[in-house]
Symmetry: D3
Subunit: 331 residues, 6 copies
């Protein structure tokens, strides 16, 4: 386990020594005003990012063979520069394969992934439609896909942007979807929940979470909607008797889940299950973004009667934390 | 009780005599090509509308004193004109006050209103916030308002456009809202459900349901959002110690429930309860519109693999009835 | 070969007898004002549509077993009704399999399909990229797909809405694309022309051209962009060493060819070949729509200095036929 | 009266001593790179804002009990930092209640408020409609409301953003409105001018002008349109015989005065007086914004043939000062 | 003078003989169901339009040489067809040059054109800027242009769509513009009023008012903004010392007067005079449209508490006639 | 010829002496923190811009009489400041008229202008329409206009933003236009190519390229579409028998070439030649912007699998360089 986190460095005394594992997010060659080469690094862990400087890259204690995406062990000292903290690095080596856990280096879900996974499995087990149950079982029998599904973030930056974020988002939607399916007789529950589970499955290839969260070239050019629908279509093709109508409906749910053409769905929801999926997906993403924003305000010490900053995924709106505001002065 | 409904007239033989109560929706003086005056009426009941002609308005068997909005008893015969059915009217008199029930003359909810009302009452009883419970009790202690709330349609034409539609819509939202409030710890359940109950209360004065569903002048110029917020603000003003913060939050939920400025909300949702209210309100209205559209397709004898007509409240989209399509050929 | 075409019926004398093959586009059961059943048909051939009435469906000379999509032989007489011509049908039977050619019953390209096809083949033969050449050869080695590609219309109604329209449109784009590829060194010619050939291939399943041009349910719910990209992706998967980068680029061209998210492309063009494809596709569709509109004006006898009607695919714009206007009075 | 204004500080010599009253707009606790605490203040007066630093907050000459919104007397010295001027503060105490006038600390109208007010009063006196005259008299008989109306800015930042700005804007509109009412016989002058006077009255509670110009929470969540319409509706409710139709019309003018739903009006103008109010309000706000922008260009020494910067309230347009440009070279 | 107007025909008895002058708006050759040729005409005068039928075009009493745009004298009888009145024409000849006045045949301003013109002249006489005064004098010294300016409608259909409408609109704007120029010291009065007079001058060639109001081909392809700016630029070019800056400003006012790019102005208003011109032009057009709409409601016998139909130039809004509604029941 | 270029300064050693000609883009008077006056200059040449400081403006070696737009010779030394290079200037004088070529001081086309010009001339020579050939010859017989046409940039910053850019863009479009005209029989080649040559001719007065690329006041207020159409209209007016129809068509092509009202065209393309001109103009501008962006990525050392930055003229899209990416690893 890591014992120093970037979030803690702000409280270090000027010049204190430190020693720890970090992920290399950016590595740049630069020169000083007096033309001396140095390395500028951006290092990250699950709590944040920090700039690091290697003023003498030729020092034998500085590894030569590391690159963006590597985990490194560094020794150095923190110093304040303007209002930022910067790290001066004296030693640096590439970490051994299992010296540190990935979940310490990138932000992760606060939920127990195994627990989330077993909830997913039990929802699938509850399906009465054998074809949909078979489809999901087949997909998750692929251990590589299942592992990626457990690890993937739900987004690059807007909501659930952490390891396990996709799974966390799906589980939240399954609970909501179950309630809504029970409420409207029109809805086919298994179809709706299949859509919930599969709508973002293309993110396992659209995003890369090796060094920070980034789009792959394939992800940028094709998008998770296409990637996911092809992945699911292939799985259905392999099932001998998967009903063609059901296939069209499942694919339609993936294609239309963004709800608007201008959000990148090539089709608008044309069945009630797709409409509901779009609503719940949007609602859950926004509720998560609000929760994160409120947490940030508390961390930043903002008073309860101050609105949040402008929230990108809510059209730059500023929000008020109802419960906190109502309780203000009562505590 | 009425014994002849407009929906049944299409099956009448040419010229068959008929006799029944109808609501006068439109009354126009016209002249024939040979310059003879006649009356053109549009008559309605809960099942639809029909054109009626009084070819001799001076006939003593035709009342002189009736007008738009009156209930009348007519005797005449059905005839086919192009593809429409028309009624030739021989006798017409204004109905006595209790000869026929309003719910026979305008479309009404298919639910038991008393049952819906008791669900509403029990939700309010479950509130733990005494101020919100007090506000709702006070409002519904006004028997005139409570009666209007039970009668009002939820809209003029888009969704729940029938007597009792507002209450039916609110009850549906209460169930959904309760599930969602339980799902997100961020949400203040009582505040959310108060918003659910009050968001459309201004419709009791925006709409008139005397002769068909129409906007009042006040409704057209001020809108149900303003009317409702003022109505609720007055009720809060009368409660001695209603907390000012809570007042602001309740009013904000009414003002922002359309979710977008261009839909007539003067403020966007800025608290999570308002955001959820907007989502659920929109979802429930759309699900109801889809249900009506699917019912219409079945009534019109459309095959299961034909999309619906273009649905106005879903941006002119055409929809597919999932369950019916999947079951096609299986029955 | 057919010897009577709908476009010619306008010049028939009232009541003249006629006899010919037509496609049944619509078949409806109706009743007269006096409650007698009759059949209302919409019949089509490649020159247009006409309404037909069977006043006595029980007549033994009227087949009982025909339906929408069938080709029928009818005997009857033309009559004028308001400003329309209508056909009164006395005899009707289903046509034998090869009594009439499909291309007489639906509008078709005026080009020689075999000639267009050989142009396509020779463009593919000119490719220097072996992977793209292999991909296209593989696809068109499937005789069913090749046949559908030769038959498909390019659209349901906007442009090239006739049998062979897709191929005609593709050939026009190949010529343009070749010029543009030669003009800009940035462009990879084979990639651009592959995109030209494959961009609309999903239309072979999005549209049905059995009885008029219609969307299939699969087409409505998934769209030709998805259908085409999956079809092409499968073909690439079967080629042992198709380069993954090239695969991403080809799929990107199909996905992005509508050029805007709101036109149903889930991705905007992000490579120069995709940008050019979108421009040329749009330009050719509009030029074809203008040509059709100008032809229609001439057929309708409009003078050269009168603008066309409002053209749907050009934002309801009205156009002027330059050459015709400049030559007016010179002839 | 204040004798030092922030706008004058730019001309101070480095290190010159100064001594004056300012409004505390922001107060932040910070630490230096060497971990010493200091205070960062933003101080304002009617001419601008300046950053102030208290490097030793424990100094007994620095008051401990002041906060944002307080008026303070400070003694210190000006110093240049990059291109900005900063104040180093040696002494600081809270000002006594009447040591300095509010109008010295926040930007104020350049007009005589008493004069503006008497113009308003005489316009009301000229009304021939007794109900509207009564309504306005009643409202302004409330001395607290009348005082707030005289003090309020018209906006937080876009136009008339100074004390007395609301009144100045209203007076300008009354002159314009009077001309336009005389020009179009369709218009009811008293109704139009009532709308002019009351359209922004909700700003007295939407905005706070204690420490700079800020939105209140109530203002953010409800908006001045709602606040104003409720305030006016209450006043009408208290008048025994205020005609209901007139009430609807006055409220409609307040609700619709932004002219577009997307600008926060829940209703579009549906009477000609509301349409005119929206036009004049918009015109006057823009003309004021242009005037301010032209004044700024002159203050900044821009030549007459240089366009202004991009003006936010005119869609980022750049403007040319006609008179100045035409006179250039003539002086 | 004409003695029969189309608006009066509705009250004619079936078959009554009539005799009068009309403008031929449309002339079409048609054939009856029994293949006999007949003429379908649309005839107009200043009060409306009517359909006319010549059932026997070979009758020697029917002129052979008339066409669209001609004034004709017809004799025939009125008959009712469905709810419309139609004229059966027995005799028809082309009118002699001065048998009837143009102002009887097309809708005209209700103002005295000579009076409007003298108001325009006296405004120009009041200018203090000699260059602008010279420009306007020069333009209107051209008798053909001056005559066209007095005759032109202001629009094809939206507002002031009658002979003299342009001049009427300009005079209304001059009064408004004079008030506004006096109100804002920023404004150059003569420049503003020059813009008012010239902004729509291109309509004298954009529109044709020979047979109804129509766009010329030049008007359709170039638009009145271009036509007008070129016309004015040429006039300035001919004035020996017209100041170049003033030229740019006058042209800018014409180019920008629609106020938005999407309304066809190639430039947004960038000087305050252009901004004001756009506001007043828009306001006056809308006020005139509202006045026409209210007049129509009264003519159609609508009650005072019924909203108007949807007004095209006000985004399909429905309006309420304030004064009429407030007076309802008082008369 | 210049021997030092700004792009080379980054590689200078700290403090190295330098000596060269530059264009003064900005000249500002400033004072240091200790109140000493100094000059801040922005100097440019065809390779970029650099900040220069004259710390002692009173030094006799510093010219007093230079201004923005002048070419100056400076002597000084480069120094690094943060990550930028800055020049400390010791001597400065205004350059003599022919000491340095304009094309060294502003970015220029990399093509041979004489060669481009002769291509233009030969295209005009190929015209078969004598009127259009005459129009173009007349225009370019004006040596001042021809020279400006050879020098002008095509835009201020988006595409072809360099001396000769307009001509380079026109030549590129002529080649494309010739291909497209040959492809569609509908098109009048000479009219299309006339539109290509003249569409942006107004830029010779909209832009100024004396000191950097800037809009003139005339350009800002009138725009190149108006300026160009007037310039061309005047030329046609001078040709004795230029056909009026052709005049309308040529002007329409200039007015409509931006393709959308919101892009500043007062008319949409209404003839097929105008539609094609708009397509090709847009395509060529975008292809050039992409080429520049790809060149920039290579200069900046970005890897082939990294997308470009957000491209302004492509809606902030990021692009991939196909050929470079496919070749990556193959070299």
């Amino acid at each position: 386990m890591k014992d120093i986190y970037i979030a803690d460095l702000a409280n270090f005394n000027e010049g204190a020594l430190l020693n720890g594992f970090f992920l290399v997010l950016v590595k740049q060659q630069r020169t000083t005003k007096t033309n001396k080469p140095y390395l500028n690094l951006i290092l990250g862990d699950k709590t944040g990012q920090i700039e690091g400087r290697v003023w003498d890259p030729s020092d034998p204690r500085i590894a030569k063979d590391f690159d963006k995406g590597d985990v490194v062990k560094v020794r150095g000292s923190a110093s304040h520069f303007d209002d930022r903290v910067q790290m001066k690095i004296d030693q640096l080596r590439v970490a051994l394969p299992n010296e540190v856990e990935k979940s310490d280096l990138l932000p992760s879900t606060t939920y127990d992934v195994a627990e989330l996974w077993s909830q997913l499995v039990s929802v699938v087990a509850s399906f009465t439609n054998p074809d949909l149950k078979g489809l999901l079982s087949t997909l998750f029998d692929d251990p590589k896909l299942a592992q990626a599904f457990r690890e993937a973030p739900a987004a690059k930056g807007l909501h659930h942007a952490w390891l396990g974020g996709l799974l966390e988002h799906v589980i939240s939607l399954l609970t909501l979807g179950d309630s809504v399916a029970a409420h409207y007789p029109l809805l086919d529950r298994d179809l709706l929940l299949t859509g919930v589970i599969l709508h973002d499955i293309g993110k396992v290839r659209e995003l890369s979470w090796v060094s920070g969260f980034e789009y792959t070239i394939e992800g940028s050019l094709l998008g998770h909607i296409h990637i996911g629908s092809v992945l699911v279509e292939r799985a259905m093709d392999k099932l001998p008797d998967f009903p063609p109508k059901l296939k069209t409906l499942v694919l339609h749910m993936i294609l239309s889940h963004h709800g608007k053409l201008e959000f990148g769905s090539p089709k608008l929801p044309m069945i009630s299950e797709a409409l509901v999926l779009n609503f719940l997906d949007d609602l859950d993403a926004k509720m998560q973004a609000i929760t994160s924003e409120f947490d940030k305000c508390i961390r930043d010490g903002k008073p309860a009667d101050e609105l949040t900053g402008k929230v990108w995924s809510l059209d730059q709106r500023q929000l008020l934390n109802t419960k906190r505001w109502l309780n203000e002065g009562k505590e």
